[in-house]
Symmetry: C2
Subunit: 291 residues, 2 copies
């Protein structure tokens, strides 16, 4: 299949290479020529615009930073829509606001272009190992057409619902992981400040209802003082911004998400944004006077 891929960063590059390895022909466009380097030895054509990519592709995948970038690359000047043949499928794998995804989907539909929102979780390791969780919103028949591509990039692939539903599921994921990491950090800070070994607390609690993959994995990394990302705090901050934007738009009270979003603001503000999200423990320790 001729597959366009736009956004060849830490996540996009390994995903595009999986598709090439599976025998697909890639059509690429990148702002920085260096991004095309890793594709020298595979079936890949470099183009001069997103519109040119679209002109040669049946499916175009985008994996960029945020909603304005997706809007730009799909609907902007020389964007995908400008070069699309009728029936083109655009798959956005970026994490953006669900409502923005719905609006972009609707604008593309008006031009006869199909759209799926398909954000992922599992990070760079999941992208490299093709073990991502992919959460998809869109039409079932479009999902079925793209599924063989998803299967080269991820392990758990779910059509959640209509347009935007993939982004909603991703927002839910970021609530559970963001709040979950902060809750573990708070429990550990309480133990430390009380003179109790958080390692023994973690060990005792892993067997009960407090068990979570975050207590197990992120909790161990907190004990190891390994704050290397993983998933950077500023990216989690952005995803919690999306959650709070949606909560505000719809009139929904999300108290633990709101408190967590504020803590992530403070993480970025205090210079810990490039650390992993578990650096929330460091900040609580600092504010609690814990050595």
């Amino acid at each position: 299949m001729n597959v366009g891929f736009i956004g060849l960063g830490l996540m996009g590059r390994p995903l595009a290479l999986h598709l090439a390895a599976a025998g697909h022909t890639l059509h690429l466009w990148a702002r920085r020529p260096a991004s095309l380097e890793p594709f020298k030895d595979v079936a890949a054509h470099a183009h001069t615009s997103a519109a040119e990519v679209a002109r040669h592709s049946e499916v175009v995948i985008t994996m960029v930073a945020d909603a304005p970038d997706v809007r730009d690359v799909t609907l902007g000047d020389d964007g995908i829509a400008a070069g699309a043949k009728k029936g083109l499928i655009v798959v956005d794998m970026s994490t953006i606001n669900p409502n923005a995804a719905r609006e972009i989907g609707a604008a593309l539909a008006a031009k006869g272009i199909e759209f799926l929102d398909a954000p992922v979780s599992g990070g760079q390791v999941g992208a490299i190992n093709a073990t991502l969780t992919i959460m998809v919103g869109g039409k079932p028949e479009v999902f079925e057409k793209v599924k063989p591509l998803f299967e080269k990039m991820g392990k758990s692939i779910t059509l959640i619902g209509g347009s935007g539903a993939g982004q909603v599921a991703k927002a839910c994921n970021q609530i559970l992981t963001g709040v979950g990491i902060l809750a573990v950090a708070e429990a550990f800070a309480l133990a430390e400040k009380s003179g109790v070994d958080p390692a023994r607390v973690r060990e005792a609690l892993l067997g009960g209802f407090a068990y979570s993959r975050i207590l197990e994995n992120h909790g161990q990394r907190m004990l190891d003082r390994n704050f290397k990302p993983g998933f950077k705090a500023w990216m989690h901050q952005k995803d919690l911004r999306i959650v709070m934007e949606e909560a505000h738009r719809m009139g929904l009270m999300l108290p633990s998400s709101a408190a967590t979003a504020q803590l992530f603001n403070a993480l970025v503000g205090s210079g810990l944004g490039e650390d992993d999200s578990i650096a929330s423990l460091k900040l609580l320790e600092k504010l609690g006077g814990i050595e």
Copy 2:
């Protein structure tokens, strides 16, 4: 062994019966004579005061509501300390403030009485099946003496640290479960308000880092609209009060716990206190105008 047991409620009764079944002789005192009924057919002596219970016991276990009750039954008029032989071990299995536990332990130590704080998690079902998680604070040599009794009541038994450390671990557990339940409720409310099926979101997220026993079990009960306790919201509210008391006493910022404690205040205030903690979903739905 002669074992005193004070506090024969939903949790205490099955635990005391496990000890009797293991061949121990119980010494009981209860405010309400009806509480002694289930012990008619086992080796159990009823006494007229906690002091009398202590006079006949090597170990006295207490399982009552809160710190003032523990203080009363241990150090009050006709309390355990008034009847204790030197070397008596008092084991408090109630959930109380860690600092209050340390103070009670110190007051008993001044009278030559040993003390362990040993709160539990696992609820009434765990008590009946003797599968509780028991988190213990106190001296290792005292812990070893009581361990055979703990093993008749629980499955996972951990000496966390010195006096109060069991209560600290329990406070950590209540952070992780309280915040964890609210985070799942918030994710589900966001999905519902967005017109997305929370069951599909849960299914997609169970395979990733968002996995928690709470997403699996409590999440399923939320989908089933089964708000029957389980663990009552007003009890979780009390345990989060303890967390916030300690945070305040020590000067520790715990943002997600604080937001969760507020939501639990609202649960009790709005008449949902007798429901399970997962009724937090009902409250978010109500406040978000979700039918």
